[in-house]
């Protein structure tokens, strides 16, 4: 298994957000994470990306315990994420956002730049080109020079994904990536995620769009009140009585 | 402990209490604006100065009695607060970085107010005219208390308690607290948020002006830069007591006044007094920025 949650628990001021969450994500798959609002999905993603430390339990990435590492170290291990309420650099252009996301690449050191070496200029051009590549994968290369603050909602989500791709991730954590997108955009995202998985990326996906989750994910984990309700294939989960009860009245 | 040093200690405590209550009054105005708007109003000290100088002018130039000049100067300070809000803060409210731009704006207004004070009143130190009020002196052994000091403390405490009651009991007071909690929710509840904010500035500045008058009476010296020394101390007080907490400002002010006086008494010199204060401030900011009684979180927009 690639990513293993081992009894992860976290409470905030007496309120238990996560309680002994345990499941596994296999490498090279798209794993869905669903649950009613407030079930702890985003908190769990925060734990994985290192923004929140669990009170107890372990988190293993490729066999290595990462639950105590600071966020930047976890990113260096190839973990990228998007945010539910979108954290873009709004006063930068799309291209600049993605270049900023390339932080973990080598290069752009200060001394070659000070000496105006040709290698520095080449590196700069390379980083621009690579950033454009990420933008085209997310389908917004035509908005490269546009300020991130002026994008439409769907474009912003795609920019976040493009920026996450700049990290060349092994594990991609997506927190409601298609919320607010139109049908055509959703279809584009679906094929993007599938193509990523083909190149070996593992995706952990939070979404409320049930058809999307059912189509895309090979395995799904359901959270309810911070606890793992069940983990299984889409068919198993859809037929699970407790899942149906938890979602009673909630349509995908 | 010898009787003499006991008396000295007592005297110091009394002095500390008096200056502390003035600090507290000043700090309350500061913290009121921060609590409601999350903005540090650095023009507060300038209004402190203008309030004092206005009271002075009313008594010397216009020949009014101190009992009339006092409230008039307080009202004038409140009016300055309104000007401050309308000119410098209200236009910036919509901006994303309104905290920083509000701070800068208040710095600009502080400079403008200071230059007005300099221009109108000149750079010399002036004092309230003699005999402006009766100042009895009471002696208990070797401890001296003047009626002026008592009046200052009572005034400061009365105002601070009145403010606390106002915020807790009256509808307007509750509206202010609502806006302090969450501006958006307050608007949804139909509260006239802009009006509430303007009122907050008026009250805060009036209190600041009163603090200035009391300070000028106590130290018997007014100058256009008298706000300078209290500006940073007021900041230290609200950090100590907690940003946005009125009881914290009151207690913090008194504690600060006491610690100032005691530091001088212990070290024998006033040189390190401020250094100790700012070091303590620094340490508190590192350990618990919200202060001792402050709200831990920033208010929601």
């Amino acid at each position: 298994m690639f990513l293993r949650f081992d009894e992860i628990s976290r409470s905030f001021g007496g309120l238990s957000a996560l309680s002994k969450v345990s499941f596994c994500v296999e490498a090279g798959t798209i794993h869905g994470l669903i649950g009613p609002n407030g079930s702890g999905k985003t908190t769990l993603i925060n734990v994985v990306s290192g923004l929140t430390r669990p009170d107890s339990g372990r988190l293993l990435l490729d066999g290595r315990a990462i639950h105590r590492l600071p966020a930047y170290r976890i990113a260096a291990l190839g973990v990228a994420r998007t945010f539910q309420n979108i954290r873009l650099f709004s006063s930068m252009t799309c291209l600049e956002n993605v270049i900023a996301g390339q932080h973990l690449r080598a290069g752009l050191a200060i001394f070659p730049r000070l000496l105006c070496l040709r290698s520095a200029a080449l590196e700069e051009r390379q980083s621009w080109a690579d950033a454009m590549g990420c933008l085209s994968r997310a389908g917004i290369e035509n908005r490269a020079k546009v300020c991130a603050g002026s994008l439409s909602y769907g474009e912003r989500r795609r920019l976040e994904i493009a920026r996450a791709l700049a990290l060349n991730p092994r594990l991609l954590l997506l927190d409601e990536p298609i919320a607010g997108m139109r049908q055509r955009e959703i279809a584009e995202m679906e094929s993007l995620f599938r193509s990523l998985v083909e190149t070996g990326v593992t995706i952990l996906l939070i979404e409320h769009n049930m058809p999307f989750i059912m189509r895309l994910c090979s395995m799904i984990t359901v959270l309810h009140f911070g606890q793992t309700l069940t983990t299984g294939t889409p068919q198993e989960v859809a037929g699970h009585p407790e899942v149906i009860e938890a979602y009673l009245g909630v349509q995908g | 402990m010898k009787h003499g040093s006991m008396a000295v200690l007592l005297q110091q405590l009394i002095n500390g209490l008096f200056i502390g209550s003035v600090y507290g009054l000043f700090a309350v105005g500061y913290t009121l604006v921060f609590g409601v708007l999350d903005i540090l109003n650095l023009a507060h000290a300038a209004i402190f100065t203008l309030g004092a100088l206005t009271a002075l002018w009313l008594t010397t130039g216009a020949g009014l009695s101190i009992w009339l000049a006092f409230p008039l100067a307080a009202l004038f300070s409140g009016a300055l607060g309104l000007v401050l809000d309308r000119v410098a803060f209200a236009p910036l409210r919509r901006r994303a970085d309104s905290n920083l731009s509000g701070l800068i704006s208040s710095i600009a207004m502080a400079i403008i107010f200071e230059s007005a004070a300099l221009g109108i009143f000149g750079a010399r130190t002036v004092r309230f005219p003699e005999g402006i009020f009766l100042n009895r002196v009471w002696r208990f052994g070797s401890v001296t208390v003047t009626s002026l000091q008592v009046e200052i403390v009572l005034t400061a405490l009365a105002l601070m308690l009145a403010l606390t009651a106002f915020l807790k009991r009256t509808r307007t007071g509750k509206a202010i607290r609502a806006v302090a909690e969450s501006e958006r929710t307050a608007r949804l509840l139909g509260i006239n948020v802009d009006g509430v904010i303007a009122l907050t500035f008026i009250v805060s500045s009036a209190l600041g002006g009163v603090a200035g008058i009391l300070y000028g009476l106590y130290f018997d010296a007014l100058a256009p830069d008298m706000g300078r020394s209290i500006e940073l101390k007021g900041l230290a007080v609200i950090i100590l007591g907690g940003m946005g907490s009125i009881p914290g400002a009151i207690l913090g002010g008194i504690a600060f006044g006491l610690s100032e006086v005691l530091t001088v008494a212990i070290t024998g010199t006033s040189n390190l007094r401020d250094a100790v204060a700012f070091t303590v401030l620094f340490v508190i900011l590192v350990l618990k920025p919200s202060g001792l009684l402050g709200r831990g979180r920033v208010r929601e927009a």
């Binding site: 290192g50 | 731009s101 500006e231 900011l285």
Partner: protein, 296 residues
């Protein structure tokens, strides 16, 4: 040319001050570009000034080494207090650095080696206009190139959204400290150079007003590019002279004009005067990698 040397005879001192203030403004720009509102740079300049002044005066250390030593001391102290201080957010950071500045000032007033309230008197006059502008040019070049480097991009990311920066792999503590220390170093150089300009430095020159002044240079000039603080320092330093030309001498009116300018800028031109020259801004933006700006 004779008119040039005439100009210099009259305005030499002003030109020097503009250069030093520009350098100080740049030192704050570095810290602001990481989103840190630090008001301690005046104190760091003071530390550099006193340290280098003492070294030259008392210990006959050569000028260049003295300057470097003063700047290094500022940087080391910045490193020491940076770690705890940079964890504090926003306005509280400003207050903590302000408190630090006051402690430094009071220390300078109370120590014998710094000459107490009178200040350090008798520092050899070693700074020339060329020194000042040489250092300014070098610093400007360095910061311009820093903009498009990994460090520059990291600082810009931290400034925009620190949480997002963290999950992008940026060690925010490291970069914030770097910006803080670099700012202190530049301020230290500026202070050290200044100390050798006029025989004397006094504690009052590096206090609260000076700290606020540096912030004003950045705000009025503009935080979008490195030329903003330079422009701000130029305008606000030259302004009193210009006003003197039209008959407005030192005093309330001059002070008031400063305040009015600041108010007008923050209300109507929040990106500073440099945004007037938006074409230039865009040009320098593209050249230096774009994202390195001093907005907080």
């Amino acid at each position: 040319m004779e008119s040039f040397s005439q100009f210099f005879a009259v305005y030499g001192s002003l030109v020097n001050f503009i250069g030093i203030n520009a350098l100080l403004a740049l030192s704050l720009y570095v810290t602001l570009s990481a989103g840190q509102l630090s008001l301690g740079n005046a104190a760091f300049a003071g530390i550099g000034a006193y340290a280098s002044g003492i070294l030259t005066m008392r210990f006959n250390v050569p000028y260049t080494i003295s300057i470097a030593a003063g700047a290094c001391l500022s940087a080391m102290i910045a490193l020491l207090i940076g770690m705890p201080v940079l964890r504090i957010r926003g306005i509280f950071l400003a207050m903590a650095t302000l408190a630090f500045g006051e402690v430094v000032r009071i220390a300078a007033v109370n120590m014998d080696i710094t000459g107490g309230a009178q200040g350090l008197v008798g520092i050899p006059c070693k700074t020339t206009t060329y020194t000042i502008y040489g250092v300014l040019a070098a610093t400007t070049y360095f910061l311009a190139r820093l903009g498009g480097s990994k460090i520059g991009w990291s600082l810009a990311s931290i400034r925009e959204d620190e949480t997002a920066a963290m999950v992008m792999g940026i060690n925010t503590t490291y970069y914030k400290t770097l910006a803080f220390v670099l700012g202190a170093f530049i301020a230290g150089i500026a202070g050290a150079i200044y100390a050798h300009l006029n025989f004397i430095v006094t504690p009052g020159e590096f206090g609260f007003s000076a700290a606020v002044q540096l912030l004003i240079y950045n705000i009025v000039g503009g935080r979008q590019s490195i030329y903003g603080p330079i422009l701000g320092a130029f305008i606000l330093t030259a302004l009193p002279e210009a006003l003197r030309g039209v008959g407005v001498t030192a005093g309330p009116l001059r002070l008031g004009v400063n305040g009015v300018i600041l108010l007008l800028v923050i209300l109507y031109l929040p990106n500073g005067l440099i945004s007037f020259f938006s074409k230039v801004s865009a040009w320098t933006g593209r050249r230096s990698g774009g994202a390195f700006r001093g907005e907080v």
